[in-house]
Amino acid sequence: MGIPISYSFRNLWTRRLTTVLTASGMGLVVFVFAATLMLAEGLQQTLVQTGSPDNVVVLRKSSNSEVQSGVERTQAALVETQPEVAIGADGQPLLAKELVVLINLQKRGTHKPANVVIRGVATPASFTLRPAVRLIEGRLPHPGLAEVIAGKSIARRFKGAGLGETLRFGMRDWRVVGVFDAGATGFSSEIWGDVEQMMQAFRRPVYSSVIFRLRDSSEFDEFKSRIEGDPRLTVEAKRETRYYLDQSEAMAKFLRILGMVLTIVFSIGAVIGATITMYAAVANRVTEIGTLRALGFRRRDILSAFVIESLLLGLCGGILGVIGASFMQLITISTMNWQSFSELAFSFTLTLGIFWKSLFFSLVMGLIGGTLPAFRASRMNIVEALRSGG
């Protein structure tokens, strides 16, 4: 039977101020660690949720994004006749030929410019393909009129994009007749209008992409190899999920690497803090350690008591950090995604994985900080330790 855990716990409790300071140092590090992971996760989840695995995006070959892509009307028509395209309840193919362009809008308040995605959509197919998109205010645009609907995060943050306001582009004024919510997907950061109206306004004779639902999800590979091999077509097909994942890759990787580097640097500081605290804990309790050893506890018991104390310290920090980080979920970041070149809003997202990783990380910091002092404590000579208590 070793030294009970309550011994380690009570010692931390006795030195509350030191414990709180050390734990908050570690807590801040865990906070940074968790927050950067949450940011990368939020970005990726937003873009992954944007896509649906049964949807296929058809783009011009080797264009990385819809904005760069161009699909001729004839080619789009060919895609429409493929057998893999699902048929909707109305007997029409579940397929939308869309136009995606960027326009420069100014943010409310700061007047800073940002590239916003404008998507020319086909009604009703575009909506059927994206069940996440729900109109929350106003109505859908009337075909033939210069009307658009704006995603929730665009309507709120950009000048002229709110309900009833007008946006000017393509030599026309466009009335915002509705606001839609697409949950935590990229569509919330878009403006939608009728595709034919848009093509006229922007003088674009070609579509950007063709999106359709697969009749059977397993037919994707077959479809892909056939249309990419078709000499009449210069297109490539991606599952919508894969398409949006690719869009987020560079930025998510940047955020992760940045987070990792920062965390490593920061944890040096926190580990130093833990080491100092634990050394002081050992120094203050020399007589106590001598007494415990005299009572018959082994070096091993002393070692583990101090290591446990340090682990507990780390855990306190971890819990503080995770609690702090969980509040970050309330914050939405809006920035330009380098890959699609367009504005995207996303939130810090805490997952169970990040939660465990953060706690584990805090324990590791505690362990590293506590090891050397614990060894010092366990190596102490009993007689000298007892004598030193003046």
């Binding site: 140092g25 801040l28 080797s62 760069q68 800073k112 210069t234 560079a250 100092i276 002081a280």
Partner: protein, 385 residues
């Protein structure tokens, strides 16, 4: 004099603890300095922009082109000295991981407007003569081992197909902030190919670059150019190169703001660590402080000793951090040249680093100083037994 000596002797009392704290502060200061430099680099493009250059683009957004026919009309605007044009090509070399900027430009006027791209006369004329030629920046050439005469193939993302160019020149930046990772080739070459495959997209440019006679006329020229094309099919938006770059930079501002917040957080973390250490140190010495008070020393004396120790440790860490900043920045410049063509630490950053260290010292000293200087002697002496 004595107090200084006493403070220094106290620092060496818990050598390990002091060293750990100094290292901690040094790491924090180093991280702070490097992060600040990183953020500074982000905005460096804004600072190095010339104020005698204007950029004209489609007012809807960058992805919309302008007709090449605008050239003559822009040239006619008073105050315009020279006009170049080009398009963002967006070609990919090998795969997406090997990203670098590549533009199709009207080569003669472009190079005249960008004197900071320094090219030997012989290479320059070779580039201008050969329609399939390209020039590349020195760093880019080094990265891929390109030499004059080499063939470079880019995969088009906006303009489909495989595009082949012959390297005819390698330019050097006029100073170290000049971007040396760019590939430039003939816009005519691009346009002719486009005319054959997608005639509708031919004769269009992504941007015009206007050199003005003096910075003073730049705003008027910008207004005059945009007025020319008002209510046309392709309205223009003309702004100074600085404003244009700033617009770009501000789009990713959120990330930069986050990095800035984090750079202050690292200071906060070390502040907590240092405060804890000082609190611990002061607590252990309460008996000594009480003794000194018995001898007639007053609260300011005791406070000064504790505060002095806190500030001295942090400043030592700060100096170490500043000293380490230079080799670290150099290392980044050499090892991560691909991402950071230059990574020079500004004098302002160094000053801020020292200020951060000082702040850590001051803040972490406050509580222990207060505690040590207000200790009741009788209570303090009891702790000795």
């Amino acid at each position: 004099m004595f107090f200084l000596k006493f403070v220094i002797k106290n620092i060496f009392r818990h050598r390990l603890r002091s060293i750990l704290t100094i290292v901690g502060v040094a790491v924090a200061v180093l991280a702070y300095g490097l992060l600040r430099t990183l953020v500074g680099l982000w905005y460096a493009g804004v600072d190095r922009a010339s104020d005698t250059r204007l950029i004209t683009r489609n007012s809807i957004s960058l992805i919309f082109p302008l007709p090449v026919s605008y050239l003559e009309r822009i040239r006619g605007v008073p105050g315009v000295k020279k006009v170049a044009y080009g398009s963002w090509f967006g070609g990919i070399y090998i795969d997406e991981k090997h990203f670098f900027a590549n533009y199709a430009v009207e080569p003669k006027s472009y190079l005249e407007l960008y004197p900071e791209f320094v090219l030997p006369e012989k290479e320059k004329s070779a580039f201008l003569m050969d329609r399939k030629a390209c020039i590349v920046g020195n760093r880019l050439a080094k990265t891929y081992g390109w030499k004059i005469g080499d063939l470079v193939t880019l995969k088009g993302t906006i303009y489909p197909g495989q595009w082949e160019f012959v390297v005819r020149g390698i330019y050097h930046g006029a100073d170290r902030t000049t971007e040396e990772r760019v590939l430039l080739f003939h816009w005519d070459y691009l346009n002719e190919a486009v005319r054959q495959t997608a005639a509708g997209r031919a004769d269009q440019v992504g941007f015009y670059i206007i050199g003005v006679t003096s910075p003073a006329v730049a705003p008027d020229v910008a207004v005059a150019v945009d007025a020319l094309f008002k209510n046309s099919l392709a309205e223009t938006l003309t702004e100074t190169e600085r404003a244009f770059n700033l617009g770009f930079v501000s789009m990713t501002e959120a990330i930069m703001v986050a990095i800035q917040i984090v750079s202050y957080m690292v200071i906060a973390i070390i502040m907590v660590v240092a405060a804890n250490t000082m609190a611990m140190t002061a607590r252990e010495r309460l008996g000594e402080y009480a003794t000194m008070k018995t001898l007639g020393f007053t609260a300011p004396h005791i406070g000064g000793i504790i505060f002095g120790e806190s500030v001295a440790i942090s400043l030592a860490g700060g100096i170490l951090g500043v000293v380490l900043t230079f080799p670290a920045a150099h290392w980044i410049e050499v090892e991560l040249a691909q991402y950071f063509p230059f990574f020079s630490v500004s004098r302002e950053t160094i000053l801020l680093e020292m200020l951060a260290a000082l702040t850590v010292g001051v803040v972490s000293g406050i509580f222990p100083t207060w505690r040590g200087s207000t200790i009741r002697i009788a209570a303090g002496l009891k702790r000795i037994g």
